[in-house]
Symmetry: C2
Subunit: 307 residues, 2 copies
């Protein structure tokens, strides 16, 4: 049930066509932890500055998230400033201030080193690997990455991938990492680098999951109004890893369900700014949306010659 999540913790200032927010709680590890907390017991590992409001820490604690790995150091918290135009598919970064994230060097506590399931959210692959190396007996290692590391730290990323079980990656970044335009071929090539499962996130188009001899296509929940897409991918990953950690093993059936739970958490995330919606959903909300996704894709089978 325990899930170690390492990644960024920050404050986001975002403008969308529907509103704007300043210094809202954000960061890959935050989105992922909040989503995962609905399924498992996440322990968040990250760094914040002196300006990070204590109420955010208390909010995470209230969700049952172990915050003992949240280091507070002198300096300012990581900040991201972005905006979305009407299509909402593309984030336009206006400013990135790494601040205390620049010197982040995660040191796991003894109890955290014993956690078996881990999600290495999107940070420098060298840090992701350093965290992995501190684990005593990792069982299921999930990781995310982004274009910045694919181009800037390819060797470190490749070293990391050798020990990763499940890579969650955006479609464009999968193409970039593999160097081929076709996503099916890209996933096959990435699997050769290490991960036995590759989950390709396609934003509003859902996700494709490639594992040994199995392909799964998951939809997204068709929302009439997307408010703010920030954190959707991390919430997806949190739901996915949280459910995997809850099950404690990977089977084709569990992976499929985990992806759908990821899609559910991603769809809640985009309905409000920050973690507002994800933190407020009930277990009943989650199950209802899971059921809606189940209905969304269902169609009757046919039998050859009998149509």
């Amino acid at each position: 049930m325990k899930l170690l999540i390492v990644g960024s913790v920050g404050m986001d200032s975002i403008r969308t066509p529907f509103g704007s927010v300043r210094d809202a709680l954000g960061g890959s590890a935050v989105y992922a932890s909040v989503a995962a907390s609905r399924f498992s017991m996440p322990a968040i590992v990250g760094v914040v500055g002196e300006d990070f409001p204590q109420r955010h820490v208390r909010m995470l604690e209230r969700r049952g998230i172990d915050v003992s790995g949240l280091q507070r150091v002198p300096g300012k918290t990581f900040r991201w400033k972005g905006r979305y135009l009407f299509d909402l598919n593309t984030a336009h970064t206006l400013a990135t201030h790494l601040n205390v994230l620049r010197d982040f060097n995660p040191q796991l506590s003894e109890p955290h080193r014993g956690i078996k399931d881990v999600f290495l959210a999107n940070i420098d692959p060298e840090l992701q690997y350093a965290v992995y190396r501190q684990l005593r007996a990792p069982s299921i290692v999930c990781a995310d990455t982004m274009n910045y590391w694919i181009t800037g730290k390819r060797a470190a990323l490749k070293k990391l991938l050798k020990v990763v079980d499940v890579l969650l990656i955006n479609e464009g970044e999968a193409r970039q990492l593999a160097g081929v335009p076709n996503v099916v071929r890209a996933a096959r090539l990435i699997r050769k680098l290490g991960p036995r499962v590759v989950v390709v996130k396609r934003g509003e188009y859902g996700a494709l999951c490639f594992s040994d001899g199995d392909v799964f296509a998951a939809p997204t929940y068709p929302l009439e109004s997307v408010f703010d897409p920030t954190g959707a991918g991390d919430s997806f990953a949190g739901g996915f890893c949280g459910y995997i950690a809850r099950c404690g093993r990977i089977t084709p059936g569990i992976i499929r369900q985990a992806i759908v739970f990821g899609a559910v958490m991603g769809s809640f995330c985009v309905e409000r700014f920050s973690i507002q919606r994800t933190a407020a959903v009930t277990w009943r909300d989650i199950c209802r949306r899971y059921g809606e996704l189940h209905r969304l894709v269902r169609f009757e089978h046919i039998h050859e010659g009998r149509v």
Copy 2:
């Protein structure tokens, strides 16, 4: 079982990263008829010039397609020249020569006027409407359109939509027609213009179908090599309309199956140039791919509180 299909008949010259072809059989009505012929008995209505090879007509006939509505007139056949770059999602038009299509004025024969199910493939909405008006007792009217008519003939298109039961439309064109960026909202607005069913085609991302109180998300078959995407949308529409005509009625379940058959025919289309692959597939191939799509999206349901 009969299905009237009106649209363009032409010859395409295409270059993709994998090869090129000159004056290959193409056109919306051709792709749709060949795909539909696997499910129903299409009658194609279109116009060709003196240069249109008779072997193409014979090929259509061999597929059981009624070619009596294929008019041959003085002049040259409609031609399209295009190319695809590596992403294969965007067709770059190099030349369009309407030729005999410019003065196309379809006159249905008596037997054709009695056909109940019709697919008005992508041509001028005024012509689509003129064909509709010649039908004695249309039952299920399906139609496609494109950006060119949405901007250039919006009034005629809106008049047509009032009598259309099922509109098949590209995602970008749905947004353009409705004037909103969100596809769910766009479909809702388009349904207000007439069609009780709106099928939004999303290329390699599958399709979304909106009908009364029901949404269905269909995947595409994840192909490792897409050879030429030309005609995929028309083949999709042909499979869809062909299955609808076979069933002779619209229910939520039939629509879902029809969309999956559409996805199957679209996926075959892109594996070769022109109709080469679609014309060659066996019923067994179709059923096998339908089954693969069924497996592709399947996941276990959960019951609240029991995960």
